[in-house]
């Protein structure tokens, strides 16, 4: 499992840097609506992944490593809007997001390290706000979910 995940990570990190997603100017030009490349990249990724996963799920695909395929679909909640809006503010400010920030640092950007430090701090702050000091699993964030949707 871990070896397979490392391979996926290697390929993902490689593609992030190779496609230029780790470049501030590429993301900034995308958010300025100057060039469509990143939107097209996300769109083509969706166009490939969505039908394949849909078919696999429909056929109750048995994964070799972890039982029957279960897609991690989440219902729409207010937290997606609040969290998404905050994320968008940070994304517009830094011109990078969590994955590409790693690629930025790997390409030699020292200021990318500042973004990564900020990301870590923000994640810890949110965990503290949700009353989850020990960063266990995602399910430990449950209290905030019920608080947001009484």
């Amino acid at each position: 499992m871990n070896i397979f995940v490392v391979l996926i990570g290697l390929a993902f990190g490689f593609l992030i840097v190779a496609t230029g997603l780790s470049n501030y100017t590429v993301i900034h030009d995308m958010l300025l609506l100057r060039e469509p490349d990143v939107f097209l990249l996300m769109g083509s990724s969706f166009a490939v992944a969505m039908p394949l996963l849909w078919i696999l799920r429909r056929r109750s695909w048995k994964t070799p490593m972890a039982g029957e395929l279960s897609l991690n679909r989440v219902p729409n909640e207010r937290k997606h809007v609040y969290g998404g809006a905050l994320f968008g503010v940070g994304w517009a400010t830094a011109g990078t997001c969590p994955g590409p920030a790693i690629g930025m640092v790997a390409s030699g950007s020292l200021l990318g390290l500042v973004v990564m430090a900020g990301l870590g701090s923000g994640i810890i702050l949110r965990n503290l706000a949700a009353g989850n000091i020990f960063f266990k699993s995602d399910t430990a964030i449950q209290p905030s979910r019920s608080a947001a949707n009484p």
Partner: protein, 187 residues
Amino acid sequence: MYGHDSQNRFTRLGTRGTLSSQFQVKEACNVDLLPERLAWYIGGPLIGLLVVALYAVANKHLGITTAYLQVMTFVRSPRNAEMWRVWLFAGIVGGSLIAAFLKGGPSPNLTYGALGNLLPIAVIVPVLFVGGMFMGFGARWGGGCTSGHGISGAAILSRGALVATVTFMATAIGLTLIVHLITGGKL
């Protein structure tokens, strides 16, 4: 080591050019084995296939913010960490480095595009730190970032992920355009 490889490639690819242009091609190949940017129509579908592969083989959802979280958990208490997310993070670091080396090697720098040109270093550091904090806090609150919601979440037609994606896209584009207007096009 790969210099030899690229020379072979040069002799195969460069037969049409003149001697001097062949020499330039050769020089360029030795420095950059990757184009400046891999086209979206190659990178996008491949990223989509990675999302499918991780689900189809390991039944896992590709997301980066949780990988950050688990790396920090691992540092604090290795027993509590979800190891596959730590390995995912390690893989992304390795893959990014491979691509950076193929692009001519990581060169330590303090540049930051147009933002770096506009702001002095003493200002840009806190701005980027706070920007990162907003992203980290928002991604944990909303349950995902551009990868977990925008790429993987959308691909499985998760409603929450689609709402989060539309929200952060709209917010980021709106804010970027507003800042562009306020700064008179400098940013």
